[in-house]
Amino acid sequence: MTFRQKLQRNKILKALASLKLTVLCLSLLFILTLWGTVGQVQNGLYLAQERFFHSFFFLAMGFLPFPGAQLVMWVLFVNLTAVALVRYAYTWNRIGILIIHGGLMLFLVSGYVTLHGAVESHLALGEGNAANYSTAFHSWDVAVWKDQETPATGKFVTDVTSVDIMAFKHDRPVVFEDQGITLRLLEYYRNCGAYTGGQTDITYRNASGIQRLEPRGLEKEPGENTPGAIFQAETTTGESFKLLLYGSDTAPTPIETKDGRYNLSLRLKHYPLPFTLKLVDFIMERHPGTDTARAYKSRVAIETNGAWREKVISMNNPLRYKNFTFYQSSYSIDKFNNETSILAVVHNAGQVLPYLATFITFAGLVIHFCMMASRSRKKHA
């Protein structure tokens, strides 16, 4: 008996390769797509995505467990794999079907890669400004960098060490060896208010004089939550004190160590880009006679190997470069007419996979239909 024949006798694999399971998964995906599309009207895009598409399960009507799209797609992937293992006949006659099947599986793989690998952030640049990092929408970290003078204009180069705030645990201090600072988390609130009026006799070190954090309920949109944290800090100078960091703090908190002065901040994560992007010009067209924008675009320059290359980013015309995609998201103009362009940035190492899957599926369809047409012609000849 061949290995494939052995597989075909396996009851579990036969059940997993069931056509009924395929139809069930496709039906559930249809329901979830419809439900999620309607759901985002009330709850916003982020919550709808998390609930319907990124979850394994969610509670429908508050009590009924319903499979989320991630679970359904995992089951569908296992189903397609089982079908490929036990049901298909691998002959040249069926080459089109086999290619289509491979394309569909690649779609699911690309979905998984995007879910776990894609990082979304934003980059706001004033005209003439340039940066080599983007900023997260709602992921926070504790960043440490050496204090330096910050003139009003010019090039600022800062070496930063950062740790995701969610990586801090109460029983495990985080040591910034190069900076000589150890932080042990005492309290953390995902959303809180900050007050300079303290109610206890404890004094926290904080640059803005914040002495009290009051936890608040989480907002629907994660970007509306401002975190705060209190740490027990120790430095190489032997100092030990309580440090308070707040997400909307005006300024970083300086700490003196043997090596010099370092700044600490609880801030939205910065994601380094492998290049520097400069906003050369922001161009906005208004509807005639109004202040309402009709269209706007950004002329940007990318620095590669010391040379600046210009590109235009507009609505529906993003810039794709080195696994990064820059979309024109929004803008702001202050009353001195200083224009700022806000770009949405997506980093996805697997961004080519959906296109590859589409091409493979399309190729399979073309091959299959051509073979069917040829067979039909031969039959009627």
């Binding site: 204009t153 007050y195 300079t196 914040i210 801030r267 906003l279 202050d334 806000i342």
Partner: protein, 259 residues
């Protein structure tokens, strides 16, 4: 074959548990480069807060006050010598990219950040302040709403008389003569806070005897500290402000400097 598949099905979750648990915190080290170009400055041609209406509703601006009524226009802006008021570089804007929000260095430097403490009067609701406000209070009784703010500014911040004139202008009260003003200031209560600070009350309802209960009104207090002034201001209708005067005094006398 069934045995092998069963083994794999049990092994996979075990591997996930082993490698998914208790990993040390990952440190990211990178170099940030930011190039700041010179910005246009000078006198604004339009109302200081008109650009707020054009502020896009996106993740960046989600926390920004959109209406002028949320922007602390009075204590902050009127007495300061500014080239032109712009969005303050304060706790609201700390997470914005430098290029996205203009700086107001004069205003930033005037803000006094000495930590203060206070006791919230019973029935008042405390909210985190925005911009230059350290805190904002409201009341749960929505039929007589009031808003009380605490702001601390360095230097003389305009002085008592200057601020009274400005507040009267906001209430559209006729500014009195110098003699009448001096008499008014002399008549105001001077309180001593629990921590020994001197607070001068400014009760503008005293200029509104002939006005209706629904007229906009204000009671304020100016606490003088070495090198700075703290303004406590309660606004609302004349009736609401008078009804909360005692609690306002309670708040003012409870203000202390954290040591």
């Amino acid at each position: 074959m069934n045995r092998h598949i069963t083994s794999i099905l049990f092994l996979l979750p075990a591997l996930v548990l082993i490698f998914g648990c208790d990993r040390p915190a990952v440190k990211r080290q990178y170099t940030e480069i930011f190039i700041q170009a010179p910005k246009k400055t000078g006198m604004a041609m339009t109302d200081p807060h008109s650009f707020l209406q054009g502020m896009p509703q996106d993740d960046i601006h989600a926390n920004l006050p959109l209406s002028d009524s949320n922007m602390p226009q009075d204590d902050i802006h009127a007495n300061l010598q500014l080239p032109g008021s712009t969005m303050p570089q304060d706790d609201i804007h700390a997470n914005l990219q430098p290029g996205s929000m203009p700086m107001m260095p004069g205003l930033e430097q005037s803000v006094d950040r000495t930590p203060l403490s206070w006791k919230t009067p019973k029935g008042w609701l405390e909210q985190k302040g925005s911009g230059m406000r350290l805190v904002t209070f409201s009341v749960s009784d929505k039929s007589m709403p009031i808003e009380t703010t605490i702001v601390s500014l360095g230097g003389s911040a305009g002085g008592i008389e200057g601020n009274i004139v400005r507040w009267m202008g906001q209430l559209r009260l006729a500014v009195p003569s110098a003699a009448e003003m001096a008499a008014f200031i002399k008549k105001q209560d001077v309180l001593t806070t629990e921590s020994g600070l001197t607070a001068t009350m400014v009760d503008l309802t005293q200029w509104q005897d002939k006005e209706k209960d629904t007229a906009a009104s204000m009671i304020a207090a100016i606490i003088e500290r070495p090198g700075s002034q703290t303004f406590v201001k309660m606004t609302g209708t004349k009736k609401a402000v008078l009804a909360n005067r005692a609690k306002f005094k309670e708040l003012v006398t409870s203000i202390a400097v954290n040591k």
